[in-house]
Symmetry: C2
Subunit: 215 residues, 2 copies
DNA sequence: GTCTATAAACAGATAGAC
DNA sequence: GTCTATCTGTTTATAGAC
């Protein structure tokens, strides 16, 4: 199942440094010296292992895809047949995605990297789409269709799911704005729970409204 | 009323180039030579007019604030007293913000600059918050409170409004993902209308759900 | 594989003529 | 205010010893 083995040693340390620094500062603002220092490696190691700084970026994108795949597999849900089951699974997924996007554990460290690649239309954008955005969205569409009684791949359903995803994503991107306006020092576990609760509440309202119009 | 006069000549051209290039590529990825070329100015003009590249960034943030203020004044809404009026005004605002964030006219050219400053925690973040995020959010909270019968500055209301704003913002940030999954070549006027329609539909469902719980 | 030393290009900032 | 020319530091990439 695990086709690509995780990198090791200096190679791994450099990729880790890349994911962190590229995510925090952006690609252009990060120098190879800084990357080497962060990884505890020599400056020449980047050229040796990846050919160039761009090569490291590509390797980071690959590792990012690997971790997303692992996270997606770990979050593989239960089978659902009824509308009630689908709704419950949607609740579970919203909570899981809130933890992934806003939490600080495991794979979520790569979220800033993902957002930078998205903004830059970098080489990681393909991994973001095929490894995360598309499968997640497709899965949510299937559940939405089951829960609301609509066609899962209908344009309206796909659009509705994006409005759901958007609610989650914004709390990561607009984090400084949200924290300031809410009077929060930061968005920790308690705040993440509050956010998830509210989005689940919205989700239920949206599903009920859809169900009402499509009998 | 207009305290700060708009800049002119070379100064203005450089700020315009900064807003465009900083927004498209990011601050670090943009060189002063590129800025000068884009503005049709000399390389030394940046140091002369703004002291440094950072000075230009600051001036861009200022100009950004000016335009946001103008856009906010232009969008100053009608007075609302009843729940129905507040809801109608919310509909109007969602449509207006969708045009501002997703459209290509006027002030919306500065949206990429805003998002970069947000990601970098740059000097423009203060203008983003006090000039756009905070007043917009406060206004939406007031209307939400009126429409749903809740306390406008209650924590729940503020959080709910962020979930509304997030739906809009995501279609800008995740534009490449959305367009690809929806099968759209780009997000034009027709698509923007569709998006606004869906978010307004969600808004109504959310307001009705809130109204149900707080009699 | 890892290191030092260095090359070659580029960055931002400045001096001084006009 | 605008220009050319240049200074100084940093960037990425490379050559070659170990």
């Amino acid at each position: 199942m695990n086709d690509i083995p995780p990198p090791e040693g200096t190679r791994r340390a450099l990729i880790e440094a890349g994911l962190r620094l590229f995510g925090q500062q952006g690609f252009a603002a990060t120098s190879v010296r800084q990357l080497a220092t962060e990884a505890g490696a020599n400056i020449a190691a980047i050229a040796y292992h990846f050919g160039s700084k761009d090569g490291l970026r590509l390797a980071c994108a690959g590792e990012f895809g690997r971790r997303l795949g692992a996270a997606m597999t770990a979050a593989s849900g239960t089978t659902t047949a009824t509308a009630a089951e689908a709704r419950a699974e949607l609740h579970r997924l919203v909570r899981g995605m809130a933890g992934f996007l806003l939490g600080d554990g495991g794979a979520s460290e790569v979220v800033p990297f993902m957002l930078r690649e998205l903004a830059d239309s970098g080489p990681g954008i393909e991994a973001v789409y095929t490894g995360f955005a598309e499968p997640t969205h497709r899965r949510l569409c299937a559940l939405w269709g089951l829960a609301a009684g609509t066609d899962p791949e209908d344009e309206a359903t796909r659009l509705a799911v994006f409005t759901l995803v958007g609610q989650l994503m914004y709390f990561r991107i607009g984090q400084p704005v949200v924290a300031r306006r809410m009077g929060w020092a930061s968005i920790g576990a308690a705040e993440t729970g509050q956010i998830a609760d509210r989005i689940i509440r919205n989700l239920d309202a949206m599903l009920d409204a859809d169900r009402g119009t499509v009998p």
